[in-house]
């Protein structure tokens, strides 16, 4: 990649927008997954009662089972959200940046 193309891209507002949007999305979703998972982990560490209480009186199923499954499902869901947004909005911007840079 020549320096000229590099500086062209760096000053392209579309590139700045791409970086900004992808970083915002990536770090926000990472934070969400970390908060969910470490919330779950902190409950294991400091408030196991919340996890071991049954989901309903008389049931043997503990709350933690639902929350754990919830984290698994949410992990799949957040990856789905990222891929959906990236396919829909990032790829077209990337294609434009590449096209403009190689002009």
């Amino acid at each position: 990649m020549s320096l000229l193309i590099a500086s062209n891209i760096q000053n392209n507002p579309k590139y700045l927008e791409l970086v900004h949007r992808r970083n915002t999305l990536g770090w926000t979703l990472s934070a969400i997954v970390c908060i969910m998972y470490f919330g779950f982990t902190l409950m294991i560490a400091y408030a196991p009662d919340i996890l071991t209480n049954p989901i309903a009186p008389g049931s043997v199923i503990p709350m933690g089972m639902l929350l754990g499954l919830g984290v698994i499902v949410a992990s799949c869901a957040t990856t789905g959200i990222y891929v959906y947004i990236a396919n829909k909005t990032f790829d077209p911007i990337i294609a434009e940046i590449v096209r403009e840079a190689s002009k």
């Binding site: 990649m1 193309i5 590099a6 891209i9 760096q10 590139y15 791409l18 970086v19 992808r22 999305l25 990536g26 770090w27 979703l29 990472s30 997954v33 970390c34 998972y37 470490f38 779950f40 982990t41 902190l42 294991i44 560490a45 400091y46 196991p48 996890l51 071991t52 049954p54 049931s59 043997v60 199923i61 503990p62 933690g64 089972m65 754990g68 499954l69 984290v71 698994i72 499902v73 992990s75 799949c76 957040t78 990856t79 789905g80 990222y82 891929v83 990236a86 396919n87 790829d91 990337i94 940046i97 590449v98 840079a101």
Partner: protein, 571 residues
């Protein structure tokens, strides 16, 4: 090339040896059907051996195909970058879902109930992080190993050496764990085959797959294995739910009623009977999450996709397959409490303990398959478990060999001027070397306590590979000095604290109370690595550091847009 001929004839000899040992294993019971199979062991399972042979046959055909299509280094290391998102997602699942997580999580649930879910969750949550932060950037920046990415704008030699050391430690210990597991599993399932022979078969097969077929063969072995494992586990979970009238309420209440620990299996967030240890729980969580995102054989898979879009999609598929699989193992574990515990056919002595199984603690899932589908299904699941080990070991061996050939030989010794054919040759030799090493270590560690292997491999991955990779991609200020000092802090900090921790210091070495009271050192080492990398980078005023910081913008353009990224091979 003469040397290739030698290798080829060696391979041929090995494969003949392999076929003859297998036919021996098949012939022996045929000649003496009533031979003295020890009463305590499961009866010799024809179904397992035949299905295993079918799997091996198919994978060897694929390896032959892959070998004829593997010409360049890119073919060998990265399957010609022709792997689609869905294929890579399956291969990721096949690379990651080890026999340890299949048999191990089912066994954890069988003995401890709900507690097993904590591991499943921890082993899954690294995947979203891989997608959000590293997958696309890895594909755009790297060639064959994650060290390509870290050394993109930093100095080749020190970075590659550090990355290769951490990769090799992770790979070799992971291999030992897999080899020991393979030997025990196969020996238990087919008692006529000794522990050593079982490991040798694994070693010979993976050397064949990887040297001849490279990443193409490895990828397809992993894809087929993932399909078999997901299918087999689905059938087992279906069988359990059918037995329980498709009611989760009934599944869990029956399990509580039948388990000797009763309702405790729903109320313990640590192994039943262990003391709660909040710091350890948090450190375990950190290790599982970030360790996943730093495993060299996992990171390597992203270089095989056609482009960064396929890399991105593959994580979604992979995460969904793995998440689904963990939910299945949870059902399988509870199903085993209902259908395997208390059954004199599987339990050593029902009057003593209803949980203590013939063949050891990793057998609940295997026996459950027998309880559900008889010998045929047991044979299928046993063959799947074995295929699982082969697929994981292939991926690991290739990752280790790449660290040796691409990072050490081509980049450090030959300073990037290695002949491509020679580099691939070095890689194949490394595969053979690692394969033999894995066999020898697997045999040496037969009677050893290997309980610390997960902590060791995941800690180094979480404290070295992951932080160094993320810093190099996102932080302009990172310099060679910061990355190298941070990396070594992660490697030696993890190993040091593990050695003086409870498992190694007290249980393995028998030195009395541990100096460092936690099994998982990540909560200390990871922050330390970040601090060391930060301080060593910002205080680095050298000329090369200035250049490295200045090169960040160009690196970022390539990482974000894929301009200049390695293209897919055209064939």
């Amino acid at each position: 090339m003469k040397i290739f001929k030698t290798v080829y004839s060696a391979m041929l000899t090995l494969s003949l040896l392999f076929v003859s040992t297998l036919s021996y294993a098949v012939d022996a019971p045929a000649a003496a059907p009533a031979a003295a199979v020890p009463a305590a062991a499961p009866p010799l399972n024809w179904h397992a051996i035949i299905m295993f042979l079918i799997f091996v046959g198919i994978t060897l055909v694929i390896t032959y195909w892959a070998a004829t299509h593997t010409k360049t280094a890119t073919d060998f290391y990265a399957a010609g970058r022709g792997v689609t998102g869905l294929q890579n997602g399956m291969a990721i699942a096949g690379d990651y879902m080890s026999a340890a997580s299949f048999l191990g999580i089912a066994a954890l649930v069988y003995f401890n109930g709900f507690y097993g879910l904590i591991f499943s969750v921890g082993w899954l949550v690294g995947w979203p992080i891989i997608l959000f932060l590293v997958a696309e950037r890895l594909r755009n920046l790297g060639k064959y190993t994650y060290a390509d990415v870290v050394s993109f704008r930093l100095q080749q030699k020190p970075i590659r050496i550090m990355a290769a050391i951490s990769s090799l430690i992770v790979v070799i210990w992971y291999l030992i764990g897999q080899a020991v597991g393979a030997g025990q599993l196969l020996h238990t399932l087919v008692p006529q085959m000794s522990y050593k022979l079982s490991i040798v078969i694994v070693g010979v097969l993976i050397i064949l797959y990887v040297t001849l077929g490279g990443m193409k063969a490895t990828t397809w072995v992993q894809i087929i294995k993932a399909g078999l494992l997901l299918g087999g586990a689905s059938c087992m979970a279906f069988g359990v739910m059918y037995h329980e009238g498709f009611s989760f309420a009934k599944l869990f209440s029956d399990a509580v009623a039948l388990h000797p620990k009763g309702i405790k299996i729903m109320q313990s967030v640590v192994p039943i009977g262990a003391k709660a240890n909040p710091i350890e729980s948090i450190s375990l969580g950190l290790t599982l999450m970030f360790g996943t995102a730093g495993l060299p054989h996992i990171l390597m898979r992203f270089f095989t996709t056609t482009d960064s879009k396929a890399a991105r999609k593959s994580v979604l598929y992979g995460t969904c397959f793995i998440g689904y699989f963990y939910i299945l193992t949870f059902i399988i574990g509870f199903g085993a409490i209902i259908l395997v515990a208390n059954n004199p056919e599987y339990v050593v002595n029902v009057t003593k303990s209803v949980l203590d199984l013939k063949g050891g603690g990793s057998m609940p899932a295997i026996y459950l398959s027998h309880a559900i589908g008889g010998n045929f299904f047991l044979g299928f699941i046993a063959a799947v478990a074995f295929a699982t080990i082969l697929a994981v070991v292939s991926g690991l061996t290739l990752a280790g060999a790449s660290a040796l050939s691409h990072d050490i030989y081509a980049s450090v010794i030959m300073k990037g001027k290695a002949d491509e054919k020679k580099e691939v040759w070095v890689s194949k030799m490394s595969v053979i070397g690692l394969g033999i090493l894995a066999v020898l270590l697997g045999i040496a560690f037969e009677k050893q306590n290997v309980a610390y292997i997960v902590a060791l491999t995941f800690s180094i991955a979480a404290c070295t590979n992951f932080p160094v990779l993320v810093l190099s991609v996102f932080w302009k200020g990172l310099t060679t000095r910061g990355a190298v000092l941070g990396g070594y802090t992660g490697i030696f900090g993890s190993i040091g604290l593990l050695v003086i921790g409870p498992t190694v210091w007290t249980k393995v070495l028998g030195n009395g109370p541990a100096i460092f009271p936690y099994d998982f050192p990540t909560f200390v080492v990871l922050p330390l690595v970040l601090i060391v990398a930060y301080v060593a980078s910002v205080t680095d005023g050298s000329e090369s550091a200035k250049k490295e910081r200045a090169a960040f913008d160009a690196q970022m353009i390539r990482a974000e847009t894929g301009l200049g990224a390695e293209a897919a091979a055209e064939h």
